[in-house]
Symmetry: C2
Subunit: 274 residues, 2 copies
Amino acid sequence: MLHVIGLGLGDSTDITVKGLEIIRMCDRVYLESYTSILSTNLKDLERFYGCSILEADRELVESNADEILPKDEKENVAFLVVGDPFGATTHSDLILRAREKDIKVKIVHNSSILTAIGCCGLQLYRFGETVSIPYWNNDWQPNSFYEKIISNRQRDLHTLCLLDIKIKEPTIESIAKKKKEYMPSQFMSVSEAATQLLKIIEEKNEETKEEPVLEESSLVVGLARVGWDNQRIIACSLGEMASIDLGPPLHSLIIPAINLHPLELEFITLYKCK
Amino acid sequence: MLHVIGLGLGDSTDITVKGLEIIRMCDRVYLESYTSILSTNLKDLERFYGCSILEADRELVESNADEILPKDEKENVAFLVVGDPFGATTHSDLILRAREKDIKVKIVHNSSILTAIGCCGLQLYRFGETVSIPYWNNDWQPNSFYEKIISNRQRDLHTLCLLDIKIKEPTIESIAKKKKEYMPSQFMSVSEAATQLLKIIEEKNEETKEEPVLEESSLVVGLARVGWDNQRIIACSLGEMASIDLGPPLHSLIIPAINLHPLELEFITLYKCK
């Protein structure tokens, strides 16, 4: 059987009791290590779970998934995912491959950044479509996420912006070579995301004379390391967010609806910059 | 300190190791018992956690919250919530009351129906605003949720419909009396929700001649007891869903986007009625 187990967001103790019991009886245990990070390292997880863990990078999961799947009916394999197992598309693919081979699949859910952001006090049922903000480079500066933020805001909905993560991405030069070389890991900060948004707003304002739906003075919420012991939340203007340092990754940015519920407003006030 | 601890969706073992460790050192433990249910009962939870648990109904949480909060700095109180602590508005209120009194609050996240529905194979980042479908009665038949479903569908987004739950609601007759009497618990099924949607569609079609965005033949997904051992998922037309029995609560209904990603389509096909 393939067990896809969510680890939650913080440290080794954020696994569920059910998940831990399953890991301890599995023959092989993989940790998906390229879409998110925990506050702890592999050695600590191994010590806490009482077993050795194989790292599963993007190449293994997307190109050699059969290596991960159980070899026969008796083998139990655990595939560990930070957050909830269904946060990233790529795990649906692994599950489908297992089902195609008539391998049974069991899911153990856990918390996900998609709901844990409720800790800032904005109501989860008022969030519209989630967007991802990617790193720009000289040739590639997509801004389709901006239109989605505006569309949510026009319908009085909040937007969660997931910020780009680059873990173990091959360098362009090395792709042609036999031996892959990887870029250093990169995690977009709330200030980088706010800076990109401000650039888009500036360009749009030059094009049109309409009243802006999102502007430099709009309230935004920055969250860092949600679910970790050193979690931080800051509510300030988009302009201010561009120069705020919330420390180490992971960061997320929320663009709230224009109108807040009194309870939301009271909660968010706890996180305002003094 | 007030510890607000998510229990996840299934049984007693869906709590996180962190959550369990905190419960075991708390002086008082409450279980919020009116916005959701687990597959297990209070006695089993008490046995597994190794402590006695007080039930917190709507009246206690919304009208007498101070009773729940720690009496002094030394007291540790656990407030247990099915799913994630931030699924229901009312818990934001409890946290704000604690903060007002300078009581420290710690959150232990867990899985929520809002993300666990990813198990049907529809991508979580393609969900628009979540809606709630309430029970209708003779005098009150709101349908604002329908417009939100249509708005999501027009932007090629999925909609999660949370279905009405009535637990320990006082009868209208008893509200005037000194002694409250309660209605039997009610949990809306996917077939009841589909039936209400079909009625709205019928009325709208009479009003307009436009091409319908949602119709009897549209694909919908019914989910029952997500995260429980006896979880069920069915994909069929809205018309068929009106006569499908997915068994005991809780049920949720998803109205997918009109266009599915090939991976979503492949996954959903696993759940098609044969």
